[in-house]
Symmetry: C2
């Protein structure tokens, strides 16, 4: 299995990307290879200071870079030799089994949708985030920004996507699915949630745990929490805001420390035909390491195949 | 000026309600009277342990109580001698100039909408909440749950409501209005926010500060942040969740301590014809005190009149 990484993506690329790549590679199985995509001379030179198994890290040259400020659609169409484009081309051709980048997230979305494509039957892919759980581990929240406007049947599918992600990648058995809402009762909430609740309440496709309120995000009420991408994005940014203030005030403890984005490994895009993870622009070496390992775990779990089978079953 | 309080409302009523009433009353101006509505015998007996100016606290008897578990609409229609009903009747007749309760919040909403009514020109009233600001004081967030589904023109009016509330009740000069969104640029967000931004960007009715993200809720980006009631409700409950965890872990400092609901004084309903504040069910004496004082401040500022004039101007 080969895991691809865009070494040119992120505010601190390529240094942090290479540092994170080497860290991740130390945790790979002997049968797994890492493919670093970017400027070959830079990668070779930066990599030379590290101690690593040369047979299991490949370098693929990319002569262009999609910059953070580039228009995603335009850059993806015109910079065909960029590390992001080459990564997606290799992923499409199955020359690599997963791809991640901390670079231009819009371009990563464009590549995911146009080069990799949505799994047949999936209405909309979703971005997932991890939310630290008081009792240990993480809860999964989706969507966190891919689709700000959505419909009840899309939320229903998010429950399937999240359920498979939680069980196959995080080993949660029969994960509980919560619907993020503004009250516990069935009739509560906006029209979207009322409709989604009706679809979800008797579902045999996942283990529905009912409505979850904002204050339940961190407890054991649900393993996976689904919502529209607007609400999910506000929720994770509010949590980031809290984390930043706590960090500045030296109030982090074992629980709040886990809100550090480094631990999250970026946001996976669920519902497309191959594993793609988008990292935070400010990713340091640890964040890159976790992003690469997350993409590896998604590939190892054959997540896209399993989502495809589940969606085909329910269709 | 007479300020009414439902003494029977709240999980710890009537004890905490009476304690809070006496505390609030100590901060009243000599020209201001407090009207306690509830079981006369209970109030007289409980009040006897306190030292207060007997000429400036009136008791109005109510033989019934709307319980926390009662159906709001049914209870408001049938329990005509309840403290909530009598309070709204007095408010409607201008026998009191403000009314608040920590009781059944649904019944308080029903009373606000049917006994007091929306100010002419206001499409939808909104509930506002206070969010501690890092630099001191509070930011105002609305709507936090009255209308989970809403339209761009309603968000536009929330900006007017919030702007007047911030300036008249909290003394903020030319308050900055932010639109809660998932990106800074104009075209970001769901269809609701895209439409609201177009309406708001050149407004002469308030001082528009653009889009505000979840992580900006606590800083100086805006004094007033508007959003649909679904998102607003999730935002404040997430903050409550954080506060509760911090409190349990003894991590509260001067900033995070201000998330304590006691300081908030409940949620005012903006856009109706008289001042109404709904308190938290678990209100203690301090919370009731702040709720009563908030309703007094809204009455003293003639908030409803000023909102009415502003809405008439913009129509």
């Amino acid at each position: 299995m080969k895991i691809g990484l865009d070494v040119m993506g992120g505010d601190y690329a390529p240094d942090c990307a290479i540092e994170g790549a080497v860290l991740a590679h130390k945790e790979f199985l002997p049968s797994e290879k890492l493919v670093l995509i970017g400027d070959k001379n830079i990668i070779t030179s930066k990599l030379s200071v590290y101690d690593y198994d040369k047979d299991r890290i490949e370098i693929v040259h990319a002569s262009e870079v999609i910059e953070m400020g580039d228009s995603p659609t335009k850059a993806f169409a015109s910079k065909v030799n960029s590390s992001v484009n080459i990564g997606f081309t290799m992923l499409k051709k199955k020359e690599i089994q997963a791809f991640s980048s901390a670079g231009n997230s819009g371009a990563m979305m464009v590549g995911s949708m146009y080069a990799i494509n949505t799994i047949p039957g999936v209405i909309r892919p979703a971005c997932a985030a991890l939310i630290p759980r008081l009792s240990g581990g993480y809860n999964i929240l989706l969507d966190v920004g891919t689709n700000p406007d959505t419909k009840p049947d899309v939320l229903y599918q998010y429950a399937i996507l999240g359920s498979i992600y939680a069980s196959e990648v995080f080993g949660k058995k029969n994960p509980k699915i919560g619907l993020l809402n503004i009250g516990e009762e069935e009739k509560k909430g906006n029209l979207l949630c009322q409709g989604a609740y009706r679809l979800m309440k008797n579902s045999a496709d996942f283990n529905f745990a009912g409505n979850i309120e904002g204050r339940d995000l961190f407890d054991d009420s649900a393993d996976v929490i689904v919502c529209d991408g607007f609400t999910g994005n506000v929720v994770i940014k509010e949590a980031e805001g809290f984390y930043d203030i706590l960090a500045k005030r030296n109030l982090l403890d074992d629980f709040f420390g886990r809100f550090n984005y480094e631990n999250q490994g970026g946001s996976p895009i669920l519902g497309i035909n191959a594993p793609v993870v988008i990292g935070h622009g400010i990713s340091n070496g640890t964040a890159i390491k976790n992003m690469v390992l997350l993409s590896r775990n998604m590939a190892a779990a054959k997540l896209s195949d399993k989502i495809g089978s589940a969606v085909a079953r329910y269709r």
